[in-house]
């Protein structure tokens, strides 16, 4: 297992800049998730590390050793793709032992190692089956076992669970995270699933339009988005604009105390679960519920509040329904905000 360092990596296809000047460091034994929508360059970056794609600029270091000129088969950076790419003509044992056989290891050594991995990945009893004879979850585990067999310097996972159904997906997420912690594997995983990223990662790199917009722990990334783009990506939809006048923050929804300096324009971001609504409260902005969606474990409301629509999520089954008038309360003190520059470009100041 190695520490990975990526230095000013860039790649364009047909003049289309897919990744742009990316810097990143992954510590040994760390799980970093590259999170972004499709087309954000996640897979290209992963393929670059594996050596499947040649980068236009920049360098990649494993333990401070530059591997730009190292061919694919010598990198020891194994990719597990969403299509798994098991070898259909080989048994599970043969699949798992493939990398070792290619390295010319003795049959005895291969057998031992494969046996240990079969046990670790809970594949006992299927050793001599072909990939098409086992379930999706088992295929997943075979792909991981095959990758782990060669003791890679880094394990690269490209949307590994996206083809599994939701229950199996959750189980595999937990299993892989457990395995990664237990064995201290350096792992870089690509996904577009926010929950998957937040629940598994040590650090999340939010990749938008080929650049890393934020690289931090899951709670920081979700609760303190570094830019409006990151906030948008995480589905934040409650933006409240205001400006500071006479020591007070003036917004459409009311006037609040503030410590910001005079004249500043600000955009506050509130997550749907950060808002408090009550139809009996004395304080707060007046709003009317225009939509209520029942989702079982939670309920979402859309509230027309002045000129804006506010989104609210709650677990509590309050008897609120469309048409009801409520008071909406915001906690400006702890909220994230961006300075609204005069040229309308947002800057992070929080």
């Amino acid at each position: 297992m190695s520490k990975i360092r990526i230095n000013r990596l860039s790649k364009a296809y047909d003049g289309n800049q897919v990744i742009h000047n990316i810097d990143m460091e992954v510590e040994e034994g760390e799980l970093v998730v590259l999170l972004g929508p499709s087309g954000s360059g996640k897979t290209t970056l992963l393929h670059g590390i594996a050596g499947l794609v040649h980068m236009d600029q920049g360098s990649i270091y494993f333990d401070e050793e530059c591997i730009d000129q190292v061919p694919i088969e010598k990198r020891n950076a194994v990719l597990v793709d969403q299509s798994l790419l098991l070898f259909p003509h080989m048994t599970l044992n043969q699949n798992i032992g493939f990398g070792l056989k290619m390295r010319g290891m003795s049959k005895k050594h291969i057998d031992e190692k494969v046996k240990a991995l079969v046990a670790l990945l809970e594949l006992g009893g299927h050793e001599n089956k072909r990939p098409n004879e086992i379930s999706g979850g088992q295929m997943q585990r075979v792909a991981i076992a095959r990758a782990l067999a060669i003791e890679p310097r880094v394990l690269l996972l490209d949307e590994p669970f996206s083809k599994l159904d939701i229950v199996l997906r959750k189980n595999m997420q937990k299993f892989v995270r457990g395995l990664q912690k237990k064995l201290g594997i350096t792992m870089i995983m690509v996904t577009h699933d926010k929950e998957e990223a937040l629940s598994m990662a040590d650090k999340v790199a939010v990749l938008l339009d080929g650049t890393i917009q934020q690289f931090d722990t899951p709670d920081k990334v979700y609760e303190r988005p570094a830019s409006r783009a990151v906030a948008d990506f995480f589905g934040m939809r409650n933006y409240i604009e205001g400006y500071v006048e006479n020591g007070q923050l003036v917004t459409e929804l009311g006037v609040f105390r503030t410590h910001h300096k005079e004249g500043l324009k600000l955009t506050y971001v509130f997550r749907p679960e950060e808002i408090y609504i009550d139809h009996e409260a004395f304080e707060g902005a007046l709003g009317v519920i225009i939509n209520r969606t029942y989702l079982g474990d939670k309920i979402t409301y859309e509230i027309a509040c002045k000129e804006q629509i506010i989104y609210h999520i709650t677990l509590q089954h309050k008897a609120l329904k469309p048409g009801d008038t409520v008071k909406v309360n915001f906690d400006f003190k702890n909220a994230v905000y961006f300075e609204t520059a005069s040229d309308n470009k947002e800057k992070l100041t929080c």
């Binding site: 594996a50 050596g51 499947l52 694919i72 088969e73 010598k74 990198r75 020891n76 950076a77 194994v78 990719l79 793709d81 299509s83 790419l85 070898f87 259909p88 003509h89 080989m90 048994t91 044992n93 043969q94 032992g97 493939f98 990398g99 056989k101 290619m102 390295r103 049959k107 291969i110 057998d111 494969v114 095959r146 990758a147 060669i150």
Partner: protein, 262 residues
């Protein structure tokens, strides 16, 4: 109604072959008899009788066509792979040109090349015949393997590389086993095409290289239906046998390799 149509169509396709099989054991079959009354195994006796050389010619033909098949496949693999996975200028033109031997009358091609072969000492030799047989087989080999390569994609090969296999190891342990089913189909087609060639064999072989198709031909020309049919039935059976054996041996090879490994 739908069933009736289905059986009628099946019959339409089968009748010619049934007629041929009946002819092969018939001495005379005058109209309007639905089934002939005089049977004879003359054709088959002729085929196995040692003085006629039919059997040794058959064996030589099979060997020659097997060699043609192997050479054609060896040329087709890299060609098909390059067309499937590499983008290059004129790719679509190459895709069309590769079909040329299907469209073009092979006879004219063989004529054109005959003189060159003569000068190179290839005319009237087995090697010359083998080389000319490769030409009509190429489009089938490339077409079938191309579709297999396009179906498989190159991601599985890339995965083998990532796991540490060199290009040669990847070809041996991944590419070759994966295209094997396509190789059997393509090989069968190429074999059938080579085995059935009459004119180009005659032209380039100059009558010195005698294949089974050439041996069969005089009986067709002379209108000896019983002989022609019987030899044709053997012709078909030998093809079926070779195709069957090649499929079996590939299956056997697989099982053996999978037992050997790990």
């Amino acid at each position: 109604m739908r069933k009736l149509m289905k059986y009628m169509m099946l019959l339409m396709i089968l009748i010619p072959f049934i007629v041929m099989i009946i002819w092969s054991v018939t001495s005379s079959w005058p109209w309007p008899q639905l089934i002939p009354r005089n049977f004879s195994l003359r054709g088959y006796f002729y085929a196995i009788h040692p003085t006629t050389k039919a059997f040794s010619i058959l064996l030589k033909s099979i060997f020659l066509s097997v060699v043609v098949t192997l050479i054609t496949l060896i040329i087709s693999i890299p060609a098909a792979r390059a067309i499937a996975f590499y983008d290059f200028k004129g790719k679509s033109l190459v895709k069309v040109l590769i079909l040329m031997p299907v469209i073009v009358p092979m006879l004219s091609v063989a004529m054109g090349i005959h003189l060159t072969f003569t000068k190179l000492g290839l005319a009237n030799t087995h090697l010359g015949v083998i080389l000319i047989h490769v030409v009509p087989g190429i489009p089938y080999g490339v077409k079938i393997l191309l579709s297999i390569f396009e179906l498989n994609g190159d991601k599985v090969e890339a995965q083998a590389r990532v796991l540490g296999a060199s290009s040669l190891q990847t070809f041996r342990y991944i590419t070759l086993p994966l295209i094997m089913p396509g190789m059997v189909i393509a090989g069968s087609m190429i074999y059938i095409i080579s085995f059935s060639q009459y004119f180009i064999t005659f032209l380039i072989g100059g009558g010195r290289v005698v294949t089974y198709a050439m041996f069969l031909f005089p009986f067709v020309q002379s209108g000896d239906r019983t002989m022609a049919s019987a030899l044709s039935v053997i012709f078909i059976l030998s093809i079926a046998l070779v195709v069957y054996l090649s499929e079996k041996s590939v299956g056997f090879f697989y099982q053996k390799s999978s037992k050997y490994y790990v």
